[in-house]
């Protein structure tokens, strides 16, 4: 039993070290690592991976549209958000498949928009539920690497294609001065 505990501690430490030592100098690696972290089933490892990705005061918001034009919105610090999401991971395993991405950036900030195909698999019945999401990440480049400062996701509703979220409107503002 002691051996098993020791092995688990070692595995957990290895995961934590590997998350901390990962090279996050490219936006691509950070975005992919974020999806990996979201899919991580082990709660402690997931927290470690997210902690390595987010800024200290990083935020998350989630918008879950229902089919009656209403939505449930949660927002706040990423730590509080994930502390409240353990029941989801108890019942489901989760996977994310990014299908499209666009990035705007200047200097030390970047704004990432992705379309993500998310699959939830019920652990008991193995039943699968899939949904397309608009995922937004605001990143900041500090100490030679990118951090996530804000993550937000929005699900598709009432057959209104969420792909529309990626399409942008450009508005020119007439300057008064």
């Amino acid at each position: 039993m002691k051996n098993v505990t020791l092995l688990l501690v070692m595995l957990f430490s290895a995961a934590a070290v590997s998350a901390q030592e990962k090279d996050f100098s490219s936006i691509d690696i950070v975005v992919k690592s974020f999806y990996e972290a979201l899919a991580q089933d082990n709660g402690d490892a997931r927290t470690q991976q997210l902690a390595a990705l987010f800024t200290k005061d990083g935020q998350i918001s989630s918008v879950n549209h229902a089919n009656n034009n209403a939505a449930s919105i949660k927002n706040g610090s990423w730590k509080t958000f994930y502390a409240g999401s353990t029941s989801l991971y108890t019942s489901y395993s989760l996977s994310n498949d990014e299908v499209e991405r666009t990035v705007d950036f200047y200097g030390e900030i970047a704004s990432v928009h992705s379309l993500v195909y998310q699959t939830l698999t019920q652990k008991t019945s193995k039943k699968e539920f899939a949904q397309l999401y608009w995922m937004q990440l605001d990143l900041v480049y500090l100490n030679n690497r990118w951090y996530i400062d804000y993550a937000s996701w929005t699900n598709q509703y009432q057959n209104v294609a969420v792909e529309e979220a990626i399409l942008s409107d450009t508005i020119w503002h007439q300057l008064s001065k």
């Binding site: 919105i73 200097g107 804000y150 409107d169």
Partner: protein
């Protein structure tokens, strides 16, 4: 007594209906809220905080004397205090220039370039600058509110992309700048500067037929139309040599291919500025 109560009740109901109707007609879009934010900045009143969610974070990037970037993050109340502190010394305005708006359901993202002007209270000093700001808004309790704002002020020598700072909108700004230096009679070029293709008189040209460049790009799954794949920049130096300049978020494999592509290029005819060869960056994309 009863009829009086009824009348009061009726008046209250009517008043409530009028208020609700007014609130509905005044419901603002996410873009309106961002406009309102910029309008309210110069007043620095408590109203500004109501445009944010209570959980909102405002992130700005600042640099120390060695050029090292750090993040300063504010809650909405501390952000207002910071603005009020600036307001003690300067009258300032900020105006959005180009807004890139993405929206779906109860969520909106606005990525915008911003013109900023600070005038010292005694009127002796005027500072004009630019920034790029990323707004994330949520539709909560019937109103759009800013949940996150990320601000990057202009970095000297790093130009904003042309689509964020179009000449058609911004040409007048340099004309009214009282502290801008007069145009030199003889235009010069900066030998250390890396120009974008919009700043040079002659763009770099790849030798041979135009199909030769297309074929070379195709071989490495790259493109110069700006439409397919992930963007990256190459640098064409004064002697026409091509090198990888900025790889953005390319994967390791894409970087290798982009590197191989620049190495396979023949020397270009370099860009010209005031009849002199200058360094110039070109945007390509790669699959």
């Amino acid at each position: 007594m009863n009829s009086m109560k009824k009348q009061i009740k009726l008046s209250a109901t009517l008043l409530l209906s009028v208020l609700m109707a007014t609130a509905q007609t005044e419901q603002k879009s996410a873009v309106d809220v961002v406009d309102q934010y910029f309008e309210q900045l110069s007043a620095q009143s408590e109203f500004l905080t109501t445009l944010f969610t209570p959980e909102a974070g405002i992130s700005t990037v600042v640099y120390d004397s060695n050029g090292i970037a750090t993040q300063v993050k504010y809650a909405r109340e501390s952000y207002l205090k910071e603005l009020q502190r600036t307001g003690e010394y300067y009258n300032f305005i900020q105006e959005p220039v180009v807004l890139i708006d993405r929206s779906y359901g109860y969520s909106t993202s606005i990525y915008t370039s911003v013109f900023m002007q600070f005038v010292s209270k005694d009127g002796t000093d005027t500072l004009k600058s630019k920034s790029v700001q990323s707004f994330k808004l949520l539709f909560i309790d019937g109103n759009w509110r800013i949940d996150h704002l990320s601000i990057q002020n202009e970095i000297p020598g790093t130009k904003l992309d042309d689509y964020l700072w179009p000449d058609e909108l911004t040409a007048s700004l340099s004309k009214v700048n009282p502290v801008s230096a007069p145009e030199p009679i003889v235009s010069l070029y900066d030998e250390n500067k890396i120009y974008s293709i919009t700043e040079v008189d002659e763009k770099p040209v790849y030798p041979g037929k135009s199909s030769e460049l297309s074929q070379l790009l195709k071989k490495y799954n790259a493109d110069n139309t700006g439409e397919n794949g992930s963007p990256f920049l190459i640098l064409i130096s004064e002697d026409g040599g091509a090198s990888l300049y900025y790889v953005n978020d390319l994967s390791g494999e894409q970087i290798k291919r982009a590197q191989a592509l620049t190495e396979a290029m023949m020397p270009w005819y370099p860009a010209l500025k005031n009849k002199a060869s200058v360094k110039c960056k070109l945007k390509l994309t790669i699959q």
